[in-house]
């Protein structure tokens, strides 16, 4: 057996087989490795791409990263249809099966505890954007007549921007309070880079919520109800995701 082992997730044993057409990372269909009553979902990956140095290099290549992230997500997504997977961080690679087994044994208790906590739960992502230029009217219509005029216009612009961010911040804080109260847990992600998201407006909230699958519909309705509450705010919902953001120990 050659090659390294890329591990996607750890799960409790699941009865259903994985979809046969599933292509994993590096095009290697994922297989299961059972140890001590837990299942690791694994692909065999070539050293030329996944050994430390090449992997590090590849991770700086957006196309490679995209392809690998999508393949990883494809496997996790397939797992969510048959079980509640505990996803591992992208790029978790072992030398061989025995390395995977040693890891499973070392982390067995953690894994069981986290799997219990996440059982039947999904993650929803909620993002709030403040549309970037709702205050067109304060832009100077004509050239300032003097230096003092210019400074006054600048001050007005700055003040109205500040007001807008304050409103956006207050709106996001309140929304987050409402959603956290409904959800079992929440995590804040850093605001997204607009160059990558290609989204318009400034991302003022980027949060993840852990919700029992059974309550998901209610959660989605809760988010939908806040849409259009405040002009200039755009709310985006993503999911359901496997509980990526909640896979670490609780803080």
């Amino acid at each position: 057996m050659t090659g390294l082992r890329y591990v996607y997730a750890v799960c409790r044993p699941f009865g259903a087989p994985l979809q046969v057409q599933l292509t994993g990372v590096a095009g290697d269909p994922p297989r299961t490795l059972t140890h001590h009553g837990l299942v690791a979902v694994v692909s065999h990956v070539p050293e030329r791409d996944f050994a430390e140095e090449p992997l590090r290099r590849h991770l700086e290549d957006l196309d490679w990263l995209t392809e690998t992230a999508r393949a990883h997500q494809g496997v996790i997504d397939a797992l969510t249809t048959v079980t509640t997977p505990l996803p591992l961080r992208l790029g978790t690679v072992f030398h061989d099966d025995s390395g995977v087994r040693i890891m499973m044994e070392a982390r067995e208790e953690d894994f069981r505890r986290t799997l219990d906590r996440l059982e039947g739960r999904v993650e929803w992502g909620v993002k709030v954007y403040a549309e970037s230029e709702p205050q067109e009217s304060v832009r100077p219509a004509q050239k300032p007549a003097s230096g003092r005029d210019y400074l006054r216009q600048r001050r007005m612009q700055t003040r109205s921007h500040e007001e807008m961010w304050q409103k956006a911040e207050a709106f996001s804080t309140r929304l987050h309070e409402v959603l956290s109260a409904f959800a079992e847990d929440s995590r804040m992600h850093p605001p997204q880079n607009p160059a990558l998201s290609k989204a318009t407006g400034r991302n003022v909230l980027n949060a993840a919520y852990l919700v029992p699958r059974a309550n998901s519909e209610e959660f989605v309705e809760l988010v939908d109800r806040t849409k259009g509450e405040l002009p200039g705010m755009r709310i985006e919902l993503t999911g359901p995701w496997a509980a990526y953001s909640f896979a670490g120990e609780t803080t």
Binding site: E52, L65, R70, P87, L88, L196
Partner: protein, 62 residues
């Protein structure tokens, strides 16, 4: 039954989760890359090299 329509997952939402979420395994068993905090991958540099022509909409606010 899904509560919302499945859409193509945006890369940026995926990377939020795959690079910052998931269980982190450290130690001698894994290749060292797993020790690296992937969040520190310089995504900004990565992105700006790809999208050099796309200006940030907030530049004028800074």
């Amino acid at each position: 039954m899904t509560v919302v329509e499945r859409r193509e997952v945006a890369l940026v939402d995926l990377l939020d989760r795959l690079l910052a979420g998931g269980v982190v395994i450290t130690g001698d068993i894994t290749l060292r890359i797993a020790d690296v905090d992937l969040v520190r991958i310089d995504l900004n540099a990565l992105i700006s090299s790809v999208n050099a022509q796309v200006p940030s909409p907030f530049e004028e606010l800074l």
